[in-house]
Symmetry: C2
Subunit: 341 residues, 2 copies
Amino acid sequence: MGAPTSIRMKKLINRPESVVHDALSGMAEAHADLLRIDVDLQVIVRKDAPINGKVGVISGGGSGHEPMHGGFVGRGMLDAACPGAIFTSPVPDQMLAATKAVNGGAGVLHIVKNYTGDVMNFEMAAELGQAENIQVESVVIDDDVAVRDSLYTAGRRGVGATVLAEKICGGAAESGATLKQVADICRKVNANARSMGMALTSCVTPAAGKPTFDLGADEMEIGIGIHGEPGRTRMKLAPASQIAELLVNPILDDLPFKSGDSVLAFVNGMGGTPLIELYVMYNEVARILKGRGVTITRHLIGNYITSLEMAGSSVTLLRLDDELTRLWDEPVLTPALRWGV
Amino acid sequence: MGAPTSIRMKKLINRPESVVHDALSGMAEAHADLLRIDVDLQVIVRKDAPINGKVGVISGGGSGHEPMHGGFVGRGMLDAACPGAIFTSPVPDQMLAATKAVNGGAGVLHIVKNYTGDVMNFEMAAELGQAENIQVESVVIDDDVAVRDSLYTAGRRGVGATVLAEKICGGAAESGATLKQVADICRKVNANARSMGMALTSCVTPAAGKPTFDLGADEMEIGIGIHGEPGRTRMKLAPASQIAELLVNPILDDLPFKSGDSVLAFVNGMGGTPLIELYVMYNEVARILKGRGVTITRHLIGNYITSLEMAGSSVTLLRLDDELTRLWDEPVLTPALRWGV
C-alpha cells in the first residue's frame, strides 16, 4: 500500500504545480507596500530598489524554506530574493534579473547556500552580471556541521547561518558599507557560525506527493538537511534535553566556541513544530551553553528556515563581537523580521 | 494498537508533565529584557509592570496555543498572561496574581476567550480582584462563526479576534485610555470581528499521547475549534480556493461585512502548517474579498493562535475604522509581535 493519502498530501494548496506561484501571489497581495514581485519570473524585489549608492544584497534558493528568502526582503536585509521550485535551485536568469533590479551602482552581494545547483547557478549569474558591468561578489554559506559532503552538496551544507548573514549583511549595506566590506562581513558571519538540525518527521514535496524519506514511528534523524537529506544518525526518540546535547555539542566543538564567548543562539523550527516546543528546546540550549561558559547575548526563536511541514528543529550559534552585534541590532523591515521601524 | 507512536508523541519535549514549565523556562531565558515569569505559578508579566496610571490588560487560557497569550506580553499589548496546562483553563489564583501584578491604579481589563472554564475562572478572579479594591472589567471574546454551543463552550467560541483585541486594547491602554474606554474598544473589536478555522490533521496533547480526534486520510474538518472541538462539517480534502470559500463566506455573511468595508485580514496557521501554505490561503482570501468589494487595509499572516502541531488554518476578519486602525498601528514590543520599536 505505502503511505496513506493523509501523509501524501494534506496541504493547503490548489495544485502541486501552482504552489510557488500562488504563494508569491499571496505575498504580492499582502506586502505591496514593501515588495515588488514578478510572480512569473519568480523574483521578489524590495520596493524602493535600486537604491543609489547602496550595495545590493540578494539571495535565493529552492522554495519550501519560507520565510527564507522572500520573507527577508526589505529595508535592512535583502534587496531581492529568487525562489526556485520547491527544493530546487532558481535559475541564473532569475538571479541576473534580481542582480540588475537591485544594482544601485555600488555592486551586488550574492549570498549563496552551499548546494551544488545553487552554487553553479549563482556563479553563472555573477558572470552574466559582470558582463553587464555590475560588480558582483559571492559568498557561499556552509555552516552545517552534521556531515561533510551530502546529497546535493560538496562540502558542508548552508543552513541557519544564512538567515543571520542576510540580516547582518543587510544592516551593513544599509549603513553604507562598500561591496568588499559587506562581503567580508558575510564571510565573517559564516566563519563564526555553526549549525545542526534534526527531524521528527519527513516532509512531503507537492510534486512527489509522498514523504521525502521514511522515518520510523519511534525514530528521529539527527543532522538532517533542509531538503530531508540524510544526517549523522537515525536513532530512537529522546527527550529534548538529549536532543539539544546532540545538536549543540558538535556545534560547540567544531568552531570551537570557548568559555567566555558571546553568541547569538538561533533555535529554528523546521516548519511543522509549534513554538511551545521551540521554547522547550531553547531552554535546553541555554542550559548547555551556561554549562560551557558561553553567554547568549542575542537570540532568534521561530520558524525561519524550514523544510515545508517537517517537524524538527535546528540550532545555529553565531559568535558575536561588537560589530556583528551592532549590525544584528540595526533596524529591519521585512515581512518576517521587523524591529526598530 | 491504535495510532502508531509517531502520531502519538513525536514532540520536542522532556516529559508530558513538564512541557509548560520547560517552555516557560525557555521564555524566561530568552526574554528577560521584556518579561518577568513566575514559572511555578505560571504567570508572565511585562517587566516594567505595574505602570502607574496605565490600565493593565491581561489575558490567559490553556497552553498549546502559542504564541498566544504569553508571546503577546510587552509594551503596547498585554501586561500579563496566565497560561494553564495544555488546553486547560488557568486557575483564578493565577489570574488574580496577574491582576495584582499589573494594577497601576487605573484598573485592569480581563480579555477572556469564551470557553466555560476560562469564563468561570476569570469571573472568580475579577471578584477576588475587586475584593482587593482593584477595578476590573471583563470582556468575553466570541468571534467563531462555525458553531453555536460546542464542546467546552456555551455560545460562540473565542478564537482569532482575541489576538487582535489584545493588540488593539494594549495600544489603547498604552495611549492613556481609561478602563472603560479600553473595555469599550475591546467590545468593539469583538463586535466587528468574525472567524472560522479548519483542520487537515488533529493534534496530540502530551498528556493524552494520542490524537484529540480522528480524521480520515482524505478528510478535513471545517469549523474546527482550537482544541480540536468538532466543527460544521467533515469533508473530503479540497483545493485551497474552496477551503477559503468555506471559511470566508460564512464570516462575511455573519456580521455581515458589506461592499466598501475595510478590514484587517488575519490568516492564521494552526501550528503545523508552514508559511508557504498560509500565503496560498491569503491569496485566496484576498481574491474572495475583492469579489465582495471588501478592501484589506491591514493584515496578519502566520501562526499566532495555534493548536499544538495541528495542520490547518483559520481566517479572522475585523472591520476597521480610523480608531481601530490607529490602535493596530501603535508600536508593539513583545516576543511575538513587534513593530515601531
